[in-house]
Structures are given as C-alpha cells and as structure tokens.
Symmetry: D2
Subunit: 400 residues, 4 copies
C-alpha cells in the first residue's frame, strides 16, 4: 500500500525520519500532538546540560523511527505483521507520551494531583480515536496490551522497548554524556519473536547489558544529578506554594488557572483544558510570580529564572529529622517567615532508580537451540541480583 504522500524529517541522530501513511500524518498534524513540541523531554535537566532542550515531540518521532526499523527487521526474519498492524504500532508509539503535561515527569502528580500520565494518555487516545472514526482502535489495543500479538506491545512498552532505546540515545546525544550511548542499531538487528514474545538473540547479550548499564548511569549522572534534582524540586515547590495561596493576585487569565482553582477530577472538561497547557504556561507563571508579594513564591520563582538553585546533597542514609527542623527554624528566622514556609526552602526526600526489575518484567535471551533465559541468568552475568533491586538515595535541598 504505497503512500500518496511522503515526508522526510531531518534528525540529528538518525539522519532522516520518513512519514508515509495518511493515519500517521493525521496523528502528527493534530494540535494535541503538536503540543508535545512545547514540552521539554528532560524538564529542567537543561539547567545542568544546556543542550538538553529537545522536546517530547522530537523523542516520540525518534521512537517512531526505531519502531519502523524494528518492524522491518522482524518482517525480514519472517514474523507475520500486517500493514494495518504496522501502522497501528507506529501510531501507538507516536502517541505513547501524549498524556504528558508541562515539564513532564518533574510536575507529574503535582500540577494535576493524583493522575498518571499513562491514564491521561489513554483518555486522549480514545478521544482522538473518536475524531478519527475508529482508525486508532488497533493502536489502542496494542498500547493497552489487549491485542493478541503481544510482541507489538512489548516493542512499545517493556524492559527493552523503542521508547527507552530512543530516550537513552537522544538524551545522551543532547546532553553530551557519552555514558548513555547504546548500540540501538545492534539491539534492533538482534530482536526476535519466540512464542509470541519479544526476545533478543543470544549474540545480542552484551548489547543488552550495555543498554541496562547505560540506563543506570543516565539515572545517576543525569536524571537524578543533584543539580537537576534541585531545579526540578524548585518548580515543584513553586506549584505547591502557588496552590496553597492561590487567589486573584496569582491569576494568569489563562487555562492554567483552572488547575489551581476548579480542577477536581480528570473529567472531560479537565481533559480538554489539559490538552491546552504546556511548558510555556508554567514558565510564564514563574516569570509573573517572580514579582509577587508572597516572599516564598517570588523568591522561588526568581531563583529558578536566574538559576540560583537549591544546594542539593545526596546520600544513602536518611537525613536526621531534628537536624532538618533546626535548619528550618534558622531559615524562618533569617527570612522572617514561618517555619511552615521555611519548609519550601529546606526539605528532604527520596530519589529512586531501578535499573532492571527482576520480578516485574524480563529481557529474554533466545539461544540458537531455542532455549530462553532471562538476561540475569546467562553465563557470567553482569546483571546480577543486587543490580536489579531498586536503589534509593536520600536528598536534602536548601536555599542558598
């Protein structure tokens, strides 16, 4: 089924990304998809890595490109994938992050309390499916793992999916952190389907290990870098403070107001409004509030704008509660604010990273003779038990 139209997009990582099916054009040209252009993929990591300003839209195009390669590879290996399934899987990956809000993970559960981006994404896909007369039904089936050919879901969402392959590759590229470079092309060449499940051929074992190690390193060196954490906690605290004291003086006269006053649950009205907000709304608020009369709010806002971030420290033990209390009291006195308010300037929390979850999910290695082993069970594994347990660090953030 040749495309009537064909478009190529320059990508600094993969060279060219090709779009060639009407459904894909309909998805990409939709305002809800274009909104992702205005959401940073890496939230405030750019405060440390100035190149890390790529958008969610760019990431989802990249993941789309990788699924094109993966599907092509599997088809060459004789796996049966119909044209309709192919386009469905491609649409699903384009839409996999459609539920992300402003500053994505940094403000998740904060701006829209109690709602996960995957749930919002699912709701948006359904609405879009209605608009497109059901042409996304298979895509949604794959996305929600209801579709019989499970390997299609696993390509989109699993321990070794094109989402992770693209974000590691892309985040590594834009930050300049070479530790995150993975051999995505080799992994893609090694993909196989066995008993309906996505697997990796045995000779791809080292590439998969590399992938898991790269992920671990990107977590600690980039995603949970102490200064990145400091910046992201600062924007969290800004939203929290604004919500706490929200009144007319904080109003922006824009859609964002709704999420401070009015929002109760993710009903249709809320969903519609959600689809209108992006990083620009939040940053505009930060700019505006930087001259507000509330000292806590304006301090946080102008500090974020001028990159005067919290001093942040990470350690493996929890911080002493009484010590924190003491610091808060000092801060309250110094700033002439209440101890409660000082909690915006001195606080602790936990940062977590799981490289590989042994229980939940598996990366199956398929040997030549048809045996299947988990990556942690191969000979001389790098991926051992301790690595597969969640690693927690405690942080403290303080205004300076």
């Amino acid at each position: 089924m040749p495309a009537s139209k064909r478009k190529i997009i320059n990508d600094p990582i993969y060279g060219f990304i090709t779009i060639d099916d009407p459904l894909l054009f309909d998805v990409i040209n939709h305002p809800w998809y274009q909104r992702l252009r205005r959401i940073y993929q890496m939230a405030l990591a750019q405060m440390v890595y100035p190149g890390a300003v790529h958008s969610r839209l760019h990431h989802s195009l990249g993941a789309y490109h990788l699924i094109c390669l993966a599907i092509n590879e599997l088809k060459q290996k004789g796996i049966d994938i119909s044209y309709e399934e192919e386009i469905a899987a491609k649409s699903a990956i384009l839409l996999h992050d459609i539920g992300h809000g402003p500053f994505s993970h940094a403000l998740e559960h904060i701006l829209v309390p109690g709602v996960h981006h995957e749930m919002i994404g699912f709701r948006i896909m359904q609405k879009l499916n209605d608009e497109l007369n059901g042409r996304l039904t298979t895509a949604i089936g794959i996305f929600t793992n209801k579709y019989p050919k499970q390997f299609l879901h696993q390509l989109i969402s699993g321990q070794l999916d094109v989402d992770r392959m693209d974000y590691l590759t892309r985040d590594s590229f834009f930050t300049g952190v070479s530790e995150g470079v993975i051999g995505y092309d080799r992994i893609l060449k090694m993909l196989a389907v066995h008993d309906g499940q996505l697997m990796v051929e045995e000779k791809g074992t080292y590439s998969v290990e590399k992938f898991l190690v790269a992920r671990r390193q990107m977590y600690w060196q980039v995603y949970l870098h102490k200064t990145v954490l400091a910046a992201e906690k600062m924007i969290v605290k800004i939203i929290e403070r604004a919500r706490e004291i929200f009144d007319d003086s904080l109003k922006l006269n824009s859609t964002l107001d709704y999420f401070f006053k009015g929002f109760s649950e993710m009903n249709d009205e809320a969903l519609e409004k959600f689809c209108l907000i992006d990083d620009y709304d939040v940053m505009f608020a930060v700019k505006k509030w930087s001259s507000h009369t509330d000292k806590v709010l304006s301090t946080l806002c102008s500090n974020l704008l001028n990159r005067k971030l919290y001093k942040c420290r990470l350690q493996t033990q929890a911080f002493d509660v009484s010590e924190i209390e003491e610091k808060r009291k000092q801060m309250a006195a110094k700033m002439n604010i209440s101890v409660h308010e000082a909690g915006y300037f001195v606080f602790t929390g936990e940062a977590m990273n799981t490289t590989y979850r042994l229980q939940d999910e598996q990366i199956n290695i398929l040997s030549k003779n048809g045996n299947v082993k988990d990556i942690s069970q191969v000979d001389d594994p790098l991926i051992h038990k301790t690595l597969s347990m969640p690693v927690k660090k405690f942080y403290i953030c303080q205004l300076v």
Copy 2:
C-alpha cells in the same frame, strides 16, 4: 593566575567547556545572561528541524569555548596576549548576543521597532559594567573595536569569527544538516596575527573556502528554508496585528504589554523592561491570543501553535503586484475580512544572503613568505566575484 573555582559544562559538540575566572562567573550568573537560556538560537527553525531548539546561552558558551582555543593557539605561536586581555575577550564573546530579544533575528526590529540588537547589547554591557565596577571596560573596548589590538575584535566579530564558527557548527549539529559542518578545529589551528590583523595561514585556505560554502548552504537550506521563513513571518505578522489593534482585550498583564503600549524609544526604562522579556512571553501571548475575537489575530496564533504554516514559495524574480492584489481580494472575500486584513494572509517580500562581502570585510590569507591575499585572490579560487555579491530571492506567503 590560577582560578579559585573551576566549573566544567557538558557540551554535546565540544565535550567540555571550562569556566575558570571570577569575572566569567559573574557574567554567566547574571540574570541578563541567564535570560538567553530562554531565547531560541534559531527562532522557529524547529518547525522544520525539530532538533533546532538550542538556546542563545548555549551558543554563546560555545563561541566562548572556541575563543579559548583560538587564544591558546595564538599564544603558542608567540602572539602577546595578557591575562587581562584574554579574560576581556572571553567576556566580550559571552556577551556578544546579550542584546537579542525574543525569537532573536525573527522579531528583530519588529518587537522593538527601529533598534538593532547590537545597539541594545552595547547598552546592556555598559549597565553591566557599572554593576561590575568597570571590570568589563576592556571587554567593551574589544567589542566596539576601540581596543588597539584589533585582532581581538576580529576574533569576536569579523568574516571568520568564533561567533560564526560556533553557530554554523552548532546549528548544523542540532538540525542534523551535514552540509553545515565546518572544520572549526582546523581553522583555529591555522589562525595567525600579522601586522596586528587576524589572518589564516595559507594551508588553511581550503578550510576557509569550506566555511564560506557551508555558510551559503546553511542560509538556503536552513535559515531561509521556505517553511522556516513561513513560520517566522507568521510570528512577525502576529506581532504586527497585535500592535495594530492593541487594546485592553489583548493585555497580558506582563512586561510584554509595554512594548505594545508605552514604548517610544530605548531609554533606561525600556532597557530594563527589555531585559525581562524572552520567548516565553511571546509564546504565551500567542497562546492567549489564539482565542481572541479578532479573526486575523486568532487565526495566525492558532495556526502557528498547530503548525499550520503559510504556504511559501521562493523565486528569483519579483512577484507580480496585480496578482498579489487579486489573491488578497479573494482571501478577503473568503474570510469575510477587509483587503487590508487579508494582507496578513497573503504577502510577499525579499530574502537575502551574502556569503562573503568582498568590499566590507576580508579574510586574509597569509603565505609562508609573508604575503597577504584576500581569499578571493588565491590561485584557482572557489570564492569568486559572483559568489561574493548579495543574493536576493523573492518569497510569497499565503494562508492555506
């Protein structure tokens, strides 16, 4: 003179950028400099090249890195540069774009009519110099070419300066357009100073040709790409329409209002306000006005947001005036607006590119025996007369 403090910044192009002098820290940490983080280097080129979202701050750090290399190189060749001059030149390049406003060149002369970014930059540097007790005096001297060692100015602003070297390299990297790749490291190795002027050693001739050709190609393939042009003209028309009809219904209750109502000349008040605005203010306005009652304004705004750009065509001959008039009339009828208003939806203009200006500036090639020739005078030159003349193309933009 070892630095008390030293910071390295990850750059995806050059690896690491090192900051190691108190003055440089003072410049970088200043809110006016941090503002550049919120201005796209390539304005709306990201509508075509999704990776082109790097900031002016990132570019100026990159140019700073290149001047570090250049100065190091020249010193190794025996050129006398004192530590103070070195830091002054580095400060000057960090600040060379400080006068850019929201969406930089796209909105230059539009948002702040009749004022060039270099003039604003000069004013801001002076203010900053006051704040820093005159520690930028030499930097400003170099920037304005008042300082005796002219080659320092030429490193910052000339036909072959580190500004251009960085923006070609960086824009090429982030867009993925390999045609813009230049051998910046080779050019830097070939720099020389002769009679107080910056030159290139003879064996660097081909690298310089390559640099000029890369620039020409980036102009036509990227900077003046018809769809990039379409996007940038759309934001221009938005500002123009907003100014035309500005009243309370358009007010944003933010600093940006001043530049629609209140601004007359670039006095101190205006300058202070200028230092507060960035891409976020403009994009917030675009988002807000996308639901305004003025059909012209709201159409332009929502089209830009949703990437429904003008259809744009470039040609070497001017467009026929009567034909444009006709198209406007049709548009007016179709949209039920005046012909004047239809001028926001159908219009023409000129795009220009000069690869190399023979008259104005020179790239001097220094031969082993001490002869100096312009790059267009070497044996078998690629850079010939016709290439050095400004090339003008005419464009037409139309709403679709």
Copy 3:
C-alpha cells in the same frame, strides 16, 4: 525472494551492512575479492593521515551499502527495478574496483604498464562470470553500460555515483578531514529517474554543490597533499628503478617477479598472476631492496620505510628546466651517482584535479515541473565555468 542466509557486517560509518543473496556471498567469498582486503584504498596517504589505512574491500562494501539504499529509495518512488536487476547492480558495485593492483592509483600504469584498472576489472569479471555460470552477465552489462536501464550504470559510474559518495565519506572519516563530509543520505533521498536517466530533485541542489566542493577539497587537501604526493612518487620511483636494473639480485621468488621480467601484455597468464599480487608483495620488495647494493634503489626503499620522504612543493607555474638540471647535477655530485640516477632524487611533474567536467558528464537537476537543468545552470550557481575546468599544478620532489 527471501534469502536463505543473511549476514551483517559492522561498519563504523553506516552501522551495519547486510548481505543476503547467494550471488553476493559467492562474489564476496571469492579469493579475487578477498584480495582487495590487502590493498589500501588510499595508497600511501597514511603517511600523512595515519588513520587512512582502510582497504579497497571495505570501500566496495560501503559503496554496496549505498546502492542498497539508493535502489530501495528509487523503488519506493515507483521506479521499476526487478530483483534480478537489483542483485546485478549490487554485484557490479562490489566488483567495480576488482581490477585495482597494489597501491591502486599510485602504481597504476607503473607496475603493469599501459593497462588501465577498469580494463583489468572487466577481464576479471568475465573470468568470474565463467566460473559462476553466467550469473554475472547482467552485472557486467550494467557495469559496461550496455544494459538498457542506464540509470543503473549511472548509480555505479557517473558524476554522482555511489562509488564517489562512499569514497568521499569513507576517506573523510578515516583521515579525520571534516572538509570531505558530504550529505550522502540526503543525496540518496533526492535521487530520481527521469527519461531513464538518474537525476537529483531540485531541493537536493545544495547537497550536490556540497558534494562537488567536498571532492575538490579532498583532492587538494588529501589526495594531492604535497607529502602524500611525495610518498606516492617515491614508490613509483622504486618500481621504475627496480625495473631498470632488474636482475637475479632483485628477485623476490614470488609472483611479483613476473611483472619485472616476463610480462609483455595482459594475457591470461598475466591476468592470473595479477590476481595474486597486492600491497604485501610490493612492501615486502621495498623492505628487501632497502639493503640492496644499488644505492639509488636502497636509498629510496629505506627512506620510504622510515618516512624520510621527498621534500615536495606545488605551484601553478611549470618549474624551470635548467634549474632542475642544475639541482640534479649537484645531487649527482653529492651522492656520487650519475645525473641520470640523480633523476630519481630530483624531478618534477604535474598533478591534476577536475572537480566537475561540464562537457563529459552531467549532474541533472530535476525541477518539480519536470524541467531538467545541469547543476551549473541553476540559479545563482556555485558550480561555475572556471570550477569545471581541469586544474593543474606542477610539483617538484627532492631528496633531503
């Protein structure tokens, strides 16, 4: 027609190269093809660029990869190419350099006087075709431009063929000379077939200009670099001297002897022997002769081994004959050799480069409305008349 077998080869430039047809395996596994593994792609350029040690085999695999991409692209655009034609074109490009001898172009016409590598290549292909029971007949037809679909020949041998695209890309990669980087992926995306001829779509114009400029720059900066020239002339002079004085004391007791004593024309015997020699034979001879009693020969050989190359100078005017004579006399006196022998140590010659031949071949640019123009006839062309004329420089080499 799925392949029974499939092999992927790691390539540092393109990632992975895939081989998946029995005929391609038969070609690649043949000893005559494997011989190319032992011939440097860039002869002695590695004396200046230490990374430039890649083999002819690697280059021909690279060109093969590019033709795979090109054919895929053309088929997606609706051009009719049968599976047989596809494999034939791929076989032809794999074999396009099969007639190269030791140190390829450097020793062409020197080691086997009066025979061009394309003629030898044609003869070898015919022999191979006999061995393979005529399975290369179509490939040979394409190679010799006898096959009706001329664009297939043009992909292999033309102004813009995959051969040049790969060697510019590869030589640039391995030397580290960024000036030679071309946008091969963009050019491939822009290929079209019109009236049976290979063309480039109009929006690929700048990429083609870039390609031609890159080629020009690689010529002067790399292929005809004065020290590369010096090294390659040294090995030429070694062969010439060895031939002049060849006797039993020079015999190597290997196939190479035949080309000093015995060879008269490229008959079947000569061809068979030709298929056995490579860089190792020549370098072994150089090593052995470095201790020969003939002072001229041993000096040249040990100098080459130890990288004591001629001092070489290039200029646009011819060198003065009497001056050369004088230098030779001085050399003869100094080295206690005849003036004739001194001619091995002091000599001049011509180096040529043609970026683009207007007359012979064309790069056709296809506009949207179906017009065809040569690349030198587009608006505001970079590729102008003077650029398209052969450029000659004169060199002088002298022992130091």
Copy 4:
C-alpha cells in the same frame, strides 16, 4: 620552553594531535617507531570488522594525545609536574608498545618464543636511550615505575591508563562497535593525585564503571569474538607448522628466516633483527607458503588469505578430550594426513578475560572529604566481586 618546531597530525577521533618537542620528534622519526606503522593494532580482527586496520603507531599517537590532556589537567589542579617530567611521560607513552612484533598479541610468544613484548620494549628503549645520549632516562624510569612520582607511571600503565583509554576508544571507533565507547574526556577531567597516587574524583565514579564495562564488552564482542579467535589461531598454527618443518623450501630470504632458524635467545643480534620485522614479513610468508608442498601449511595459508577460517565455538565447560581425538582421526582420514598433523585442523584451548583485578591493581575513588575507596567499594557498586574474577571460556576450532 616553546618548541622550535610544531607539527599537527589529523586524527579522526581527537581532531588534531600536536607534537612540539625535539625529543618527541626524535622518537617519532626513528625507524623503530615507524615500524609500528606496519603492525596492525588489532591483528586479524579485521577479518570480522573490516575497519579495524589501524596501526600500533596510530594507537600510540592517540595515547600520547590523551596523556597531553591528562598532564594539562593535573597541572591545572596544582599538581607539580616539571617540563622534563612532562616530556619524559610523553616519550614513555609513545614508546610503550615499541616491543610489539608482527600481529602483536596474536603472535606474541609464538614468533619469538618465551619473550614478552614488555621485556623487548624495555630493551629497545635502552638501545634508543644510548642513541639519544641518555635523553630517555627519565622516560624509562617512569615506564619501569622506578621514578618517584608514581602517578606518572600509573598514567601509562595501570587499571585506568591512557593506553587502555585510547585502545578502547580507538578500537571501538574503527570497528564501529558502539559498546566500547567510553567517556575518556570526562575521566581525564576527573583525574586527581592524592598521596602521590593517581585517583579519580568521586563524581567520576560512573564514568569509571562505564570504562570497565566497555572493556568487558570489547573483550567478548570483539577481541575474543569467535571468528577473530579463529583467524588469529590460524596464523598461530601457520607459524607453528612452519617452525616444525622449516627447511630451505620455506626460506624467504628475508630477516624473518632468522626467527625460524637461528634464534635462541633475545640477544643483541636477535633484537636488531626483531626491529626489522613487521606484519608484511609474516603476510608475505603466508602468501608464499600458500603454494608450498606441505599440505598442512599450504591449506592453512591459503585458507587465511581467502578468509576460509576455522569454524570456532566457545563454551563455559571444557571440551571432551575423547571427542576431540575422534574428530582428529576423522580429519586425518579425510585429508590423508597423520593424526598429529590433523591437530593443526582440530584443536581446543582457553580464552580469558579479566575485567578488573581486585587484588593486583586498584582504581581509587577520591571523595571530597579526602577518603579513598576502591571502585568496588563505593555505594551500590556495579563492579562487584564476581565481575572482578577472571572469566575463562573454552574454544574449539575446526577446519571446514
């Protein structure tokens, strides 16, 4: 102390390598150093990775470049390194592989039985030091770890030396195996000296982990790749067979003969001859012997030339002796040779890899408060005990 002369060399990985001291020129221009140009860095890995044809000379220049960066970094951190020590360390790294023979590690102990390349290297350095009137004395002191500032030795030879940093980076670059990419520039920025020992600052921990994992992966994916192993064992068996049956019919009339007949111990005569042989001598022998009357020898030689390599298998358990015996008998019968001779066609052995030796050497991590920990003792280590034990695999090679 400015250099009178300065030379830059293009490197595809690092851009430019600068040589600027007379002693460095004397080392590089010496015939013994130039010999490294004719020895493959990765022996026969090019049979699998066609790009892996870079030379030992290129690697040692690369390691030299990295030590320049490292020394510069340490000096900026206030570590006292005199100009003489600097040049000595640079000379030492240039010479660190000078003792390698043809096909380096593949033929180590085979061509010159019982002699390690480091011992030969030491002998050659001493000879060179005599020639250079003692100017290498400090370099040799550093190389042999006799020099008081131990960190200089550790930069050259240790768990985290510039040798390993360059070979991982370079081998990864030329093979195209992205799994071997390390963040060498970040590691270099994190180097520190504490109590006279080379350390890594705490925030470099993840980069060091990455380095160790990259090394492990390059071992299994490249250096001990079953087909690379097969090729390297083939050349080993060729040398062994040639030595076993060496007589006049095998003589090459070149220096290599000495190592088959005449060599007893590494005395001065042997050392002088060793400095004359390289890959060309061995490959010429392979070519010549490919038509020898000894069936074993000629089969091995022509198979290697034509890339008809052993079929090789790796496993964690030893192979069954009686099974091997059986295979040999079958081979003997099939080829009409003795069972002893069949041992050249069917054999087993062990391949080893140690990622990190806990006992022998350490990578010390220096925390901000001055504490020193081994990399395996940091919080949540990736580098655990099992990883640090030698990993052995058994291989079987068989003629096909």
